[in-house]
Symmetry: C2
Subunit: 281 residues, 2 copies
């Protein structure tokens, strides 16, 4: 496995690669990331993983400076899974004040975007930059960041990017908490209660599969439960899986998404609800 | 020469091309365009010219619907110069409502951008889409659209696009009017007076080369002359050639740009002013 820091170097290195599969990450890798890297292997001869904490996608009061940076451990975990680790310096990826952005669709201002203004603009912009440097034929993104996956897919479609976007399933701890770098922020007590987010999403899914279409009532009940247990809720929302528009009664492919704070830690999670498939069970 | 309309077809066709040089145009080709196409030949084995009147870069009150479309003549002119003409349908390049844009730098809101809100956003977005489809190693843009060239260069730099941007000199009629598709809109009488725009720019250049640094006075004099002859002036502005920021007294590489209306026709032009080189003469 090769570790490359400079933009120019990775360009040279990849010039002769006929097929690159790419997994962009912010590092602090857990099994969820590693599953995406394994998945990438099926989509390209050369697997490139980027480790880059992107300042552009953090708000002024967010955790950019405190975001865990664990470069050596990340490289050790990737050994044998990735061919190239690309870990550019901030000054190499942003040598001048970034003034040109990918402006994502208005939907990027909803859900997480409503609480993190400019977040998806920062995500879309850095992903486009990385795509242009790595020039992969496929890139893998986790469903854990469901709205991010949606924004990237829309960008690829609407800007005609020559990249196939592959979605990776969310990995979960034994108690079903979605794996996330930010779980490390949780106190032992909060870690125990953290699964409440998943549990509420699972309840909503169960209820919808059973025929309930009162999405608003389901959302409110979940919000009330979380609040009653000390969470601060950004949103719980049932959406159409493809468009991420608010769900309508006739939609068959849904997703319920949530973001909520446990102490100073913001957790997100989501569950897809495929009504056709569930009916067949 | 091959003519391709479908996005998917040109992707397939170019897959095996090791080196593509690209000239994006809106068609209605004149000698200025053809010079860019000849220049492209020096930068790639396969020369692709796109003919596409891009709705995204026209304002609601601009000449999108009346913009001259001369497909057959354009193809005849390109015969022997280009290898592939790419002429996509609007519905093929924009199969859904375009909601994802390249947002260019704040400078795109000055000069032409101040009078054509959203114009450079539309230009940058379609050029990025075309780049992603054609995947050229080099693309040629005329200096006639100087601010456009600046926006594209900034986009390539800040989004790490793997494309070399080549600038083509402005071609002029015998009386020095810059060649432009919009010249065809001019009445015979207006055509005679049209060179006044160039003449004012040339006067400004002459004066600056002679040592004058009162840019504002020079701009105002040009505006007054044009107005006195019935023109409606959008701007006359002396700028630093590289940054397009307003010129400062010590700048050695300048450009004077102008946009003005003769009747219903908006003309633009510019002249570079290289003080070092002029001194050496």
């Amino acid at each position: 496995m090769q570790i490359v820091a400079a933009v120019q170097t990775i360009r040279e290195r990849l010039k002769s690669e006929p097929s690159v599969a790419f997994v962009p990450t912010m590092g602090n890798l857990h099994q969820g990331h590693l599953a995406l890297v394994r998945q990438a292997r099926e989509h390209g001869r050369c697997v490139v993983v980027s480790l880059f904490v992107n300042p552009l996608q953090f708000g002024p009061n967010e955790d950019f400076s405190s975001y865990p940076r664990t470069f050596d451990q990340d490289c050790a975990k990737l050994e044998g899974l990735a061919d190239i680790v690309f870990a550019p310096a901030v000054e190499d990826l942003y040598p001048e004040l970034q003034q040109i952005y990918v402006e994502p669709s208005p939907l990027a201002d909803e859900l997480c975007g409503a609480f993190r203004p400019g977040h998806f603009r920062g995500v879309a912009t850095v992903v486009l930059k990385l795509f242009n440097i790595v020039q992969p034929q496929a890139a893998v993104f986790g469903k854990k960041d469901y709205q991010q996956l949606h924004v990237i897919r829309a960008m690829v479609r609407q800007l005609n990017l020559p990249v196939e976007i592959v979605a990776g399933e969310t990995l979960r701890a034994e108690d079903n908490l979605a794996l996330s770098s930010r779980n490390a922020y949780l106190s032992a007590k909060d870690r125990t209660d953290a699964v409440r987010l998943y549990r509420n999403l699972a309840l909503i899914r169960e209820s919808i599969v059973a025929g309930n279409r009162d999405f608003l009532a389901l959302e409110c009940a979940a919000i009330a439960d979380l609040k009653a247990h000390g969470w601060r809720v950004d949103y719980v929302s049932v959406r159409a899986a493809k468009s991420l528009e608010p769900a309508k009664a006739g939609d068959m492919s849904l997703v319920v998404l949530a973001a909520a704070w446990l102490g100073k830690t913001r957790l997100i999670d989501n569950l897809e609800i495929c009504l056709n498939a569930d009916k067949d069970l």
